[in-house]
Amino acid sequence: MISFERFTLDNGLRIIFHKDATTPMVVVNTLYDVGARDESEDKTGFAHLFEHLMFGGSINIPEFDTPLQMAGGENNAFTSNDITNYYDVLPSKNIETGLWLESDRMLSLAFTPKSLEVQRSVVIEEFKQRYLNQPYGDVWLELRPLVYKEHPYKWATIGKEISHIEDATMEDVKSFFKKHYNPSNAILCIAGNIELEEVKSLTNKWYGDIPGGQKPVRNLPIEPKQLEFREKTIERKVPADAFYYAFRMVTRRNEDYLTVDVLSDALGRDKSSRLYLSLKKDQNLVSNIGAYITGSIDEGLLVISGKLNNGVSFEDLDAALWKELSALTTELVPTNELERLKIKIQTSKEFNDQGLLNRAMNLSMHELLGGAEKINEESEIYQKITPEDIQRIARETLNKTNCSLLKVKADNAE
């Protein structure tokens, strides 16, 4: 059970406070309700580039990192297709430095041309390091547009192509900030050994005078229902053939979301999962195989991916895989298997909740999704999932017409 208090400032900033009396550290976590899905198609990669610029100095403070380090703290941030999340971890005695820094960059950035130029190159190097200079690194750049035809999930957070990052202008940067970075579009979570009254007075002091702004209205294109099996093969200079089966699934807020999560665990969470036992251990078709969900807020994906053993064809794999998938639609998952999946989920939740930063980030995310209290409801929802639920969801999800397959063919396989 993770306890918390919640209040909202007059400018619309939502604040979650989580007290933990056992730690000398404090976390200041700021979630902005903006991600790559909010970009326009000709300017992709922008939410992420912007995240980098948030460290280039704000209106009253020339540098973000130095004062935080001076306070004994450290920070980082990440951007996804859905959100942008910034966090500071520092000794709790120095919490005010965290609030001073975060509130000033919510108020306004410095927008220096140097920062834009440098971060543009840094992000291009990040693009190369993660997506271009790794075997299989560009898979998601290929898979997304195969699955999504309308919804902005069709491009990756890093962007569709490097040229979009090269072409970003200062004007783009400023209008992005104006539109998305304001109190009404943010959730602030403070976690540590402090008192609610102090949190209230400090947040009022530092955030109270920031103009509220307008929460942008999100009006994203709906991805039409997929009606046909899709397949694409790319050839790459990699040592082994790889496969990615992507199935469309329900949204993050849908009541069946956690059931799809359990379904993906049954398929491929660990070395006791169905696909691992059948396709690897019994039939020796693959060197590795796993299944997971993307965790997106809008309609996400259940993905099954792995690599073929030498001499095994994509067709061999395909036949064996669909046999396993169809077993889940025709037969109920045995109770002991479901118990195994649930205890694994419970264990990872206990470990996840151990970390102060995780708790702060999860509370913020749940607040965005509909209420931070939901963080304490998840375990019970998982526990109530039945074999019949899994079967129903398997029937809805694991269909050929709901599937997109990306094959990476090794052009120098032995």
Binding site: V118, D209, S272, N310, K344
Partner: protein, 419 residues
Amino acid sequence: MPNRILQPELVAIDSIDFVAPKQHVLSDTTSLYHMKDVPNETSRFDLYFDAGVCRGQKGIPSFVNGLLMSGTKDKTSNELQSEINSLGGFLDCGISIENSVVTVYCLREHLPAIFKTVVHAIQGVTFDKNEVQEYLVDRRQSLKISQEKVGYLAQQRFREKLFASSQSYSYTLSVSDIDAVTIEELRDFHKKHYLNGLNKVVVVGDISDEVITEIKDAVTPIIVSSQEDFTDAITNEPGKFEQEKEGAVQAAVRLGRTLFNKNHDDYLDFLILNTILGDYFGSRLMTNIREDKGYTYGIGSMIAELNGTGYFLIATEVGSDVKDATLKEIQIETERLQSELVSEDELELVRNYMLGQLLKSANGPYAMTDLFLSAEIHGKSLKFYNQALASIRDITPERIQELAKKYLKWDDFSIVAVG
């Protein structure tokens, strides 16, 4: 309206509570460390074996580590995995140059049962022919994938140069060694280094004394009888070594030298020098090479410790066209630390940052256990971290310069670039 120009007043960190786990001596060579004060249901155990890469040849230590759960005469690998997974356990078998460590994370109520399964699995591995075959095929494929990564290739070349004087430390896995290994060799290594190789046990979690006693009894048969020494005399081969990787759009750079560990008098002060140079976001290397030039997504430096020695490393991945420019800037930064005194402002920043990070490293039972272990391995108690606090407070610009002159000579470095 708050004053947004001035930083709020800072409170200095005056002391940190370091908490040691309880030590249970199992033999002259081996102890069990138990951190009991965990305020939730989580738990972890680690089994350390004197079975690191340096104890064998041709990849054998690494293969044996990877096959520890491959089945006993009573249980197949699938059955072992099922026993662990059905109790919600997360198992990891890891190997480094000097150690093999088996770690399990689970809820504390299931720790006794999972512990039993894991110890039996390790004791009874049969190295079944099919399991070994399957494992080696997988290793072959994953090695080939790694060999497509500039970061992996540079790390391997760097190890070869860094540990140039010791064949067992500089070993790099090759496909031909995977093809050549025999089951006999695996069994021999296992017998020597696992059945008589346990040299540390760590338990974190609110576990009863009865269970700790059971654990002690269970591991007694596999405790190492006499601990072999680790080398303390390794020197790197200085010079620049470049390798082409066709089609690469970035080059991986690794450079450094053999150095020392916590047992050397210069260690704590060098740690501060290392932080200034490359171990935090505001470091000289990050500020120059990422935040000013935009050559890379990230660059960092570190000190890595071994039982008897240690080494210093700078690592980055940069655009292929700026590889030489990056090396030039790294050289400038290492030389600037020798020719110019660090300013008081910068030193104050690094002091505060390091104190905050040390506070964080001692935060919570898991972090605290790891902090304890990293001193214990060098025969140090937690007093070592009070010395660290003192060293951070007392460091001077002159001392930093003295250490830079002594240890950051460009000509002493092994420099590797692949791309």
